[in-house]
């Protein structure tokens, strides 16, 4: 009975959390038209774009090169047995555009920026800055969250393209080392193997991941109560929850795309 109770409580808490996220998402969406026409919001969004995007390029590129190389080596060692090493190129191209690029980028952004969102907002809560905004008749969602939202929705798909490119180039390095296939040849093969629909579904997923990361990061920040140690806890929780939700959303949307593609 006790176990059932705790499972029930867990489910209710989970649903309440998702409900809270949805409400916050909705208020963000409602505040967006107001925010989009204000110069100050775009300035803040540009700052966020630099932090999430520009500063994130090196790590996304390096991690994608490594992952691309690992993917090529692992599949290569199996495919070699069948003399089908050239299919490594298909695996890397399809794997990155559909899945590895968007997911890897989202996970890196969760760690880098999701944590930054929650600690920034959490600190603002602790130092009464959020209250100060409210007492000035300003909407914290519009001023603090919406610029992050705009920035993430623009920059995370861009980072995903960086990740796709880096991963595919790592595949080129592997193919050159193992079979001496040159870059122009490799690229010609890759462009044939890539389906533009894969690229777009990947980018669509990255947009959804961007919404999740900003929402969870901001919500964990806004929910901070107490002192500095609560900010630390919220940061951890923002990273853990956004990574989990990104992967859950990935399963969900990949399943949808899979079903749609079948017909």
């Amino acid at each position: 009975m006790n176990m059932l109770e705790s499972i029930g409580a867990g489910v209710i808490n989970g649903l309440a959390y998702v409900g809270g996220l949805t409400l916050q998402f909705w208020s963000g969406l409602r505040a967006s038209p107001r925010a989009l026409v204000k110069r100050g919001r775009w300035r803040a969004a540009m700052r966020q774009m630099a932090m999430i995007g520009v500063e994130g390029v090196p790590i996304v590129a390096v991690m994608s090169i490594c992952t691309g190389f690992i993917l090529a080596m692992q599949t290569g060692s199996e495919l070699r047995k069948f003399g089908a090493l050239q299919y490594v190129m298909d695996v890397v191209a399809v794997g990155f555009t559909r899945e590895a690029g968007p997911l890897l980028t989202a996970l890196i952004v969760c760690g880098r920026s999701g944590s930054a969102f929650s600690s920034e907002i959490g600190t603002m809560v602790v130092t009464n800055e959020i209250d100060a905004l409210k007492t000035m008749a300003l909407d914290p969602i519009e001023i603090v969250m919406v610029p992050k939202y705009i920035a993430a929705c623009i920059v995370i798909p861009c980072l995903t393209i960086v990740s796709n490119t880096a991963g595919i180039l790592a595949g080129a390095a592997f193919m050159f080392i193992t079979t001496r296939i040159t870059l122009p040849m490799y690229l010609r093969y890759i462009f044939n193997a890539i389906d533009m629909r894969d690229v777009f579904t990947g980018l669509l997923k990255s947009l959804i991941f961007a919404a999740i990361i900003v929402n969870v990061g901001c919500m964990e920040g806004f929910r901070v109560r107490g002192g500095p140690e609560a900010v630390g806890r919220s940061t951890t929780s923002a990273v853990v929850k956004s990574i989990s939700l990104v992967i859950l959303a990935d399963v969900f949307f990949t399943a949808i795309f899979y079903l749609v593609r079948k017909d």
Partner: protein
């Protein structure tokens, strides 16, 4: 009272089983300085947060110029807040913005003034609190007193009718604190603002207050003018005025616990 700027009626606030404010009723008139006095944990900051409408009370109402702040439309709340300025205890300046941007923020967001006019107004507000030279500094580069003055400049940016201060002199040396008292009096006389000051500093309260409201453990025990307050015979007010410490009472349970710890259970 027709002229009440802020009227609090039967305000009760409970956090779980802990009653923080107990049936507090208070009217603050236009143009007066009301000091909310009380010891630590007496509920004075909680009362202020409810007057600003940052929290929902368990029961009771807070009305600003006759409008219930907890049950009004979003538009009304916005209109009320545009006429209120709040200087928080820790100043609550936006750390990522310079002093200039902090003070200019409400002007940029809530008015349609041009940038050059906002620039002039920002400088005037900062000059009025003696911070004209610190306009381009970041909040981290300011001393405690400067931060509080910058917060006052930001709170007065939109020329509010009501100004609220949470512990303006806490953590400041007597000279800087006296400067803030003078600033509060200046704002009252120059702009005829209604000012609410949360404080536990007697000297400051007697200097600036028109009336003093004393809170004790969540209840309002007196609302008097300065002279009547000084002459009060209420034991809690006398204790506060005469700086007499609470006797450290030892409960029977605490005594039992101590003797158990000492291995003296049963022996007394």
């Amino acid at each position: 009272m027709a002229d009440a700027m802020i009227s609090v009626d039967g305000l009760t606030v409970e956090y779980g089983s802990n009653r923080v404010l107990d049936n507090v009723s208070l009217e603050i008139e236009r143009g007066e300085i009301m000091v909310l006095l009380g010891g630590s944990g007496s509920g004075k900051t909680t009362l202020m947060r409810h007057i600003i409408g940052l929290e929902q009370p368990t029961s009771g109402t807070v009305k600003i110029r006759g409008v219930d702040i907890n049950h009004c439309s979003r538009k009304d709340l916005r209109a009320i807040r545009c006429t209120m300025g709040v200087a928080f205890q820790e100043a609550a300046l936006f750390n990522s913005m310079s002093v200039r941007e902090n003070v200019g923020l409400p002007l940029h967001e809530l008015t349609t003034l041009s940038d050059s006019i906002i620039e002039i107004m920002t400088y005037m507000k900062l000059a009025a609190v003696g911070l004209g030279e610190a306009i381009d500094r970041m909040p981290q580069e300011l001393s405690g007193g400067m931060k509080k003055r910058a917060a006052v400049a930001r709170a007065t940016a939109l020329d509010p009718e009501i100004l609220l201060f949470d512990e303006p002199s806490a953590g400041l040396d007597p000279i800087v604190a006296a400067g803030l008292d003078d600033l509060i009096l200046f704002l009252k006389h120059a702009f005829h603002m209604t000012i609410v000051v949360v404080s536990h500093e007697l000297a400051s309260a007697f200097k600036i207050a028109d009336r003093i409201a004393m809170l004790y453990r969540g209840s309002l025990i007196a609302v008097e003018n300065k002279e009547a307050f000084k002459a009060s015979t209420h034991p809690r007010i006398r204790q506060f005025l005469d700086r007499i410490a609470d006797p450290i009472t030892e409960s029977a349970a605490a005594r039992d616990h101590l003797s158990q710890l000492a291995g003296l259970a049963g022996a007394s």
